[in-house]
């Protein structure tokens, strides 16, 4: 049977159509068309929506809303999103970035999904027609979540407080050995007042490094100050083993890369 593509003007109509068995939502196509090409016959129908709520980037009062259909390339070149552009640029090569969407990235299994790591560190909320939910809630339940993601929203980090690192074997493009996004906020004396650190490839989906976050509070971002955070960085992780690297290797180098990121 050929793959039927249905296009709907509204997200709610698309959501309804998505309830049919074997139906998947078509975003940029980098995940679902690939699956179909590779012979995943469980995909029997595709749904997409031209609903304007899915497109567009709005930045106002320090709050950012990105429609789920917005591509990595659009984020990377947006004049007001310079602070997080590097996370969008970390995804794929130029053609992939013209196709891959924010919404799709939230579903990308490790070692993919580097932008979702950034969103997790930014404490984003994920919007569907049913409302907004914290990204952590969304990620935890994403495998069973049939509702179309419409947007992500977050507070734009202060200039230079957003740090992002993607480690890959192949340069400049290559999938992640691991990725790290960190948003340490510093008080006037240079000590860390709050910190969010998100990790990619350290589990099957992006996760927070909660112990390391805690260990940073009140510390300076210098070698001594971050030592405790690095020592606990691996807490709660269960890294993937894949052709790129083993879980052992990922565990070993996580503190090294986190340290380098925090000291930059």
């Amino acid at each position: 049977m050929a793959l039927a593509l249905q296009t709907f003007a509204t997200v709610s109509d698309a959501n309804a159509a998505l309830k049919a068995a074997g139906t998947r939502y078509l975003g940029g196509g980098t995940l679902v068309v690939r699956a179909a090409n590779e012979g995943d016959i469980s995909v029997t129908g595709l749904v997409r929506s031209t609903d304007p709520t899915l497109s567009g980037i709005t930045v106002s009062g320090g709050k950012v809303r990105i429609g789920a259909s917005v591509t990595m390339a659009a984020i990377a070149r947006h004049p007001e999103l310079g602070a997080i552009a590097k996370a969008a640029r970390a995804v794929g090569g130029p053609a992939i970035r013209n196709m891959a969407t924010v919404g799709g990235n939230l579903f990308a299994p490790a070692p993919y999904g580097d932008f979702a790591v950034a969103l997790l560190a930014l404490d984003a909320s994920v919007g569907t027609n049913d409302g907004e939910m914290p990204i952590e809630t969304f990620l935890a339940g994403r495998d069973g979540n049939p509702a179309i993601v419409t947007s992500v929203s977050f507070t734009l980090p202060k200039a230079d407080s957003f740090r992002f690192l993607k480690v890959s074997r192949v340069k400049p493009k290559g999938v992640s050995v691991l990725s790290i996004a960190a948003v340490p906020e510093q008080a006037g004396d240079g000590t860390v007042s709050s910190a969010r650190i998100a990790l990619g490839c350290m589990a099957d989906r992006p996760m927070r490094a909660c112990a390391a976050e805690k260990a940073l509070i009140g510390q300076k971002l210098d070698p001594d100050g971050i030592a405790a955070a690095l020592a606990t960085a691996g807490e709660g992780t269960s890294p993937i083993t894949d052709p790129i690297a083993s879980a052992w290797y990922r565990t070993e180098v996580l503190p090294v890369h986190l340290g380098r990121l925090l000291l930059t």
Partner: protein, 160 residues
């Protein structure tokens, strides 16, 4: 199943085709329009051999459904030479001996063209980034990077 009508502009000429649901643009271009310059190296989005330019943006035709391309303007490497005169990029690839088996070449040229369209005087780093989604197994990339840099210089000299 009913076939889906699609219409688009391919290298400046109007095309109207019927495709089966789920047909990728790569298959539509190759099997329907007869433009075999985009190559199917992986059908996964990991090699770049199928790269085409849609409405000015570099896309992977293997991951793009043909049905979503109605009304678009599509450029491929086979349409780059005008009246038999090679595009500066094509000329530069020849002069730099930047092709061996040639299978990656049309995709490389598409990626390079989009770069030069937006960044007429790219740095080496820009070129490396622009080609980063395209795999070449023969050349070791260096001749291709040099070809793109040469074409950029030729372009800027012509413009001056």
């Amino acid at each position: 199943m009913a076939k889906v009508p699609i219409q688009f502009t391919l290298n400046g000429s109007e095309k109207a085709e019927f495709v089966e649901g789920g047909t990728t643009l790569l298959h539509a271009l190759r099997d329907k329009t007869g433009d075999t310059s985009p190559k199917g190296g992986c059908h996964q989005g990991t090699c770049g051999a199928c790269s085409v330019i849609i409405d000015g943006e570099l896309r992977l035709s293997c991951l793009t459904l043909a049905e979503t391309c109605s009304g678009t303007d599509i450029q491929t490497t086979s349409g780059l030479a005008e009246a038999g005169v090679l595009h500066p990029l094509q000329r530069a690839f020849l002069d730099a001996f930047a092709t061996q088996c040639g299978f990656c070449t049309p995709g490389m040229i598409m990626a390079a063209k989009v770069l030069l369209d937006h960044t007429p005087n790219p740095s080496r780093e820009d070129v490396v980034e622009a080609l980063s989604g395209n795999i070449c197994r023969c050349t070791g990339y260096e001749p291709i990077i040099q070809a793109v840099l040469t074409a950029a210089r030729a372009n800027s000299q012509n413009a001056a």
